[in-house]
């Protein structure tokens, strides 16, 4: 039996992912240039406000990623066909969400040192965010525990549907408890946008850029997970056929 892999052109990207990639490069390019050199400093916070242009969008993308993970997990669990495609989207989205949540915690910690005077404080917003991050790290660990793709999909889908319930708790923690963290500036409870125009523009461009990057990453990583499953299934098929061949010789 010929076990040498067939050489095929390396194709993971599609026109849609290329559009995501292009938008991400354009918008994130503005975030770097505009955020660092063009937008004004804040009257009270000074230049440290520039950290907001990466902190807020990465937090938004992390929330989005975990919500998509939950929706895709529900699609797997409650769908008639129990399609593994949903499971792979859930897994890919959680991977990207964990990355962005880590970046949110890092940038928030540095911003906190400059404004609050401390890198970390066990206050409601920070603690619930850290707990959310730890929960999704656990989700990724559970995905890697082995078993058939169907078993992996089922156990991780149940966990994802439970974990997503933490997101409202994180978002509203600054309203529910007294927190060091400020309330939302764009989606504030009184509906007012409390940002200078150019700051707001750069923040929104950042949100679009990081969202486009999320789209690119999830599309690619979901395809990688599909190819990994195929590769592993082929490995198992190969092992079984070798065993059968071995048994026939004996």
């Amino acid at each position: 039996m010929n076990s040498t892999p067939r050489t095929e052109p390396a194709r993971v990207g599609t026109p849609a992912t290329r559009v995501f990639g292009l938008l991400a490069v354009l918008f994130l390019g503005w975030v770097v240039v505009g955020g660092l050199f063009i937008t004004p400093a804040d009257a009270i916070q000074g230049d440290s406000v520039r950290i907001m242009y990466v902190h807020v969008p990465t937090a938004w993308v992390a929330y989005l990623a975990f919500i998509v993970t939950a929706i895709a997990s529900a699609g797997y669990l409650f769908g008639k066909r129990h399609s593994l495609g949903f499971d792979r989207v859930a897994g890919a989205s959680a991977e990207v969400g964990v990355l962005f949540m880590a970046l949110t915690l890092m940038s928030g910690s540095l911003w906190g040192r400059l404004t609050w005077g401390t890198f970390w404080q066990w206050d409601p917003r920070l603690t619930t965010t850290a707990f959310l991050f730890v929960t999704y790290l656990g989700y990724l660990a559970v995905r890697g525990l082995g078993g058939t793709p169907e078993r992996r999909a089922k156990r991780s889908a149940i966990l994802a549907l439970l974990a997503v319930l933490e997101i409202p708790l994180v978002h509203f923690s600054v309203l529910l408890w007294r927190s060091l963290h400020q309330e939302a500036s764009v989606l504030s409870s009184d509906g007012d946008v409390k940002l200078d125009d150019l700051m707001l523009f750069t923040l929104l461009v950042g949100v679009l850029g990081f969202t486009a990057l999320y789209g690119w990453l999830v599309s690619h990583r979901q395809r990688i997970l599909t190819m990994r499953d195929i590769e592993e299934a082929k490995g198992i098929d190969l092992a079984i056929s070798e065993r059968i061949a071995e048994g026939s010789v004996r």
Partner: protein, 159 residues
């Protein structure tokens, strides 16, 4: 056909098993981290969070225990005395004198809301930790609004 267990191993099982152990280890780390996060949150909640006007009034804000006090730094009250920072916190018309060993850091300044951690000693709150709260409002430096606020004093800066 003989399908009994054999000694030689052609399947990728050992590699997969090794990878699985890595995930089990990660899961253990995650569980420990989760416990640490929750326990730290509960431990830090021991310092009760009170506004200046709630000291001695609200349950948990007793003057003889360690608390966290929130208020706005009164305009013109910040003084440096022998390496210590002295200032007055105010909230809802109530005032509290605060003494902090050293420089609070962050964007500490007059007219800004802060949280002081410490204990009341007589009439002075002795803080060993100061954190600056900032509002959710962002205004460009040198804008007309800032100039107006500076002329008007504390009330407009803190919103």
């Amino acid at each position: 056909m003989d399908l009994s267990p054999r000694e030689t191993n052609v399947s990728p099982a050992p590699r997969v098993r090794k990878r699985q152990w890595r995930y089990v280890a990660l899961l253990l780390v995650v569980a420990v981290a989760g416990i640490v996060v929750v326990s730290q949150f509960l431990t830090s909640a021991i310092d009760y969070y009170c506004n200046v006007d709630e000291i001695g009034v609200k349950e948990g804000c007793d003057p003889d225990r360690r608390i966290r006090v929130q208020g706005t730094v009164e305009e013109g009250s910040v003084k440096e005395v022998l390496g210590a920072t002295m200032f007055t916190l105010e909230f809802n018309g109530e005032k509290l004198a605060v003494a902090y060993e050293g420089d609070p850091g962050g964007i500490f300044q007059e007219c800004i809301p802060v949280v002081a951690h410490g204990r009341l000693n007589g009439d002075t709150f002795e803080a060993n930790r100061i954190e600056v709260r900032h509002s959710n409002e962002y205004v460009a430096e040198n804008s007309e609004r800032v100039e107006k606020a500076e002329k008007a004093g504390c009330s407009m800066i803190t919103g």
